[in-house]
């Protein structure tokens, strides 16, 4: 059972997230769009907290509000003034339609399907108090291979990014 605070929080955060995501689409200035994106990410991490995913929420803030926007802004800074707008391409109407279609589809599926959910009592009993320890154990237990692969992927991305933007030694 949720307390009223969580319910209010959910609706506020959902509104904030969706609104900010819409702003990403609508705003004309690319840097403003980045800001709206950060706002959407922060709202999203709030939604994660309402799902008792405290660790993921913090990781979300760390990566999506701390690291990626800075990368984005840097990339924006390195491009000239002229291309710093958030203009739509020729595919805009089509893209919008496809986006709307997907959203409608997902919403319909979400509403219409009978999901195999836990009953209320189990939800209440199932404690999500300390996810960190469990996630850590799972990462180094059942998901060890994926974990190692992810670390290799990160290393590859790191090296790749450095190699890509390196100046050619003349």
């Amino acid at each position: 059972m949720d307390s009223i605070g969580v319910i209010i929080g959910f609706y506020a955060l959902a509104g904030l997230t969706v609104g900010a995501a819409l702003l990403v689409f609508l705003v004309r200035n690319l840097l403003h769009a980045v800001l709206a994106l950060v706002l959407a990410f922060l709202g999203m991490s709030g939604l994660f907290i309402t799902l008792s995913a405290d660790f993921i929420a913090m990781a979300q803030i760390l990566i999506y509000a701390g690291a990626i926007p800075v990368l984005l802004v840097f990339a924006v800074m390195l491009t000239p003034h002229a291309s710093r707008d958030n203009a739509n391409s020729l595919f805009a109407p089509g893209g919008l339609l496809i986006g709307l279609g997907f959203a409608a589809l997902f919403v319909f599926v979400a509403m219409a399907t009978v999901w195999p959910v836990l009953d209320v009592e189990t939800l209440h009993v199932q404690s999500f108090a300390g996810t960190v320890r469990t996630i850590g154990a799972a990462l180094l237990g059942d998901y060890l291979l994926a974990f190692e692969l992810a670390s290799v992927l990160l290393l590859a991305a790191f090296v790749g990014a450095v190699a890509l933007v390196r100046e050619d030694e003349a």
Partner: protein, 120 residues
Amino acid sequence: MPSSAQDLALTLPHYLVVSGMIFGIGIAVALSKRNAIAVLMGIELMLNAVNLAFLAFSRFGSSFGIASEGNPAAPLAGHVFVVFILTVAAAEAAVALAMAVLVYRRRETVDLDRINLMRW
């Protein structure tokens, strides 16, 4: 008019609807923006929507099983997936932005309509 907080309680569809809407917006951004960086932002939004769906399933879904003595992480499988998505997203952002910078340096534009040569 609901009679108690019970009737207002959040359920899986609540989260899935939000997730679906954000995914749709992400697709729209990714498909219709001209700037490569904006496209990347759309992709990040989509990834986030997926994260939300994963976590919601992890919280409400019964398919994962419930936490037991032998397998305390069972309902947290969604969390683990999100951790990997976050990792991939970070890696992807780094490489994609490096590529955007590289493209700009070679072609003096990050306008995707004009990057159509398939070669530098």
